[in-house]
């Protein structure tokens, strides 16, 4: 019997949701397990790093790596998996774009530690302990991975073959990806395994949109009784559909929530935040500066909203910290 292709799954700076998504395949997971031989899946199976190191290079058919890269240890692991795998797939928004952890790029190590280990309300006042990468203890030397100032997406650390977008990727998308890999019917290297157009092309509510999509006010989801049969954007609720890649079949929108952009930008315009900001500011149809300022101020945190998943892979990538005195 032909050897089953070996598959590895690993998680870096992630919330575990992508692991959940694999389990979400429900029964379909059985077909997958039947078809492949999972050789490394820390969250579910007890294989050790040494097992992976023992494999010859390129032994693994495909590694699904989720989570952003923020520690030196994660860098070592993904580099190991890269050496051992024919294909590496960036699984989910964090590895694809930097994801929610990527928002940490609005700070740096010093300010994060300063908050978490001193200023946070849960810390006693005056606490000054800090994690150390090396410490001598009677038993010997303990090590911790290095904590970087900047969170990176997977392709900023290793060469990535394909991207499975989404936070998390939808079970259907995962199944299709696995199928494509098994059958070898794959698009050219570097492709994002989802739609090529923006979400509006896939969303049923697009027909309800007036021809001139112009809004006079911005409302948060909690401030309005959304008509679920009509395009949310036309009702003044920020929906990132127009700027987000399709492929999720408008899962959130069918669940009554506007799209927040987890599938990331389409190929043509790599910087998601710049494009999102442009279209939102353009459709708020107000000419009086004071009124416009008042409404646009309701976009409480433009950087956070427009770069929710993609700050590390944006044009500027991170915040430039002010020089410390």
């Amino acid at each position: 019997m032909a050897e089953k292709p070996k598959v590895a799954l690993y998680w870096c700076a992630s919330c575990g949701g992508c692991e959940e998504a694999v389990v979400d395949l429900a029964e379909a997971i059985l077909d997958v397990v039947a078809a492949v031989d999972i050789v490394f899946w820390p969250v579910a199976l007890d294989f050790k790093v040494s097992d992976v190191e023992a494999l010859p290079d390129k032994a693994i058919a495909v590694s699904f790596i989720n989570g952003a890269v923020r520690l030196s240890e994660q860098k070592e692991m993904v580099e190991l998996l890269r050496r051992k795998s024919q294909l590496v797939v960036a699984f989910g928004s964090c590895s694809h774009l930097g994801g929610i952890p990527g928002l940490a790029n609005l700070w740096d190590k010093a300010s994060i530690f300063d908050w978490s280990y001193s200023k946070a309300p849960s810390m006693e006042p005056g606490a000054t302990t800090r994690p150390m990468t090396k410490i001598q203890v009677p038993e010997g030397e303990l090590e911790l991975p290095e904590f970087w100032d900047t969170v990176k997406s997977l392709n900023q650390v290793i060469d990535v073959d394909y991207y499975l977008p989404g936070c998390p990727p939808t079970p259907k998308l995962i199944a299709n990806a696995v199928q494509a890999i098994l059958t070898g019917k794959l698009p050219p290297k570097g492709a994002v395994l989802a739609g090529t157009k923006a979400l509006c092309s896939e969303c049923d509510l697009n027909e309800t949109k007036p021809d001139k999509l112009l809004i006079q006010d911005i409302k948060r989801v909690t401030e309005v009784q959304l008509d679920l049969k009509k395009c949310y954007l036309a009702q003044g609720v920020l929906c990132m559909g127009p700027v987000t890649r399709s492929g999720c079949e408008a899962l959130c929108i069918n669940g009554g929530m506007p799209c927040t952009g987890c599938f990331g930008p389409v190929q043509e315009s790599p910087d998601y935040g710049g494009k999102a900001l442009s279209f939102v500011a353009s459709i708020v149809d107000l000419e009086d500066p004071a009124r416009a300022q008042e409404v646009l101020a309701k976009v409480a945190d433009p950087t956070g909203i427009f770069y929710r998943y993609s700050l590390p892979t944006s044009k500027l990538g991170r915040k430039k910290m002010p020089r410390r005195k």
Partner: protein, 148 residues
């Protein structure tokens, strides 16, 4: 790594801030021509990229300019109500409102990104705007995004 070290003194003296200026063809670019015709001199730090309307300027262009090494970005457009295409500059105004907030969130000081309405006959205003911005940037020092 994220803490940018102060460049040595003399390097700072030789350093000249670079301003990328997106000017709309009908008003601010015409003002720059008029400045030329009337020999109204201004700091050479500004480089003009001409577009047909200030509404053509995609915020991504501004992000691109900062990432590529600009120390300041200036958008010049017609006064509200004067746009050659009726209402292009209103979109510029709104985009600039959100963009200046985002740039400050990303650590880019307020003075580095300016939107100024400069009409076709306002050569003097263009001169003061460019000179003031250059002075501000000299005070702030290089942005040097590549070093971030």
């Amino acid at each position: 790594m994220a803490v940018v070290m102060e460049p040595p003194k003399e390097a700072q003296e030789a350093w000249e801030p670079r301003i990328v200026a997106f000017f709309c063809n009908w008003c601010t670019y015409a003002a720059s021509d008029l400045a030329g015709i009337s020999r109204v001199k201004y700091a050479p730090n500004m480089r003009i990229v001409r577009v047909m309307c200030s509404g053509r300027i995609d915020p991504s262009f501004v992000l691109e300019a900062f990432r590529d090494g600009a120390d300041g970005v200036l958008i010049g457009g017609c006064n509200p109500g004067d746009c050659h295409y009726k209402e292009g500059n209103y979109k510029t105004m709104r985009r600039a409102m959100l963009l200046s907030q985002m740039l400050q969130d990303l650590g880019i000081e307020k003075e580095r990104f300016r939107l100024d309405w400069i009409c076709a006959s306002c050569a003097r205003e263009l001169q003061t705007t460019v000179n003031h911005m250059t002075a501000d940037l000299k005070r702030l020092g290089p942005l040097n995004w590549k070093g971030v």
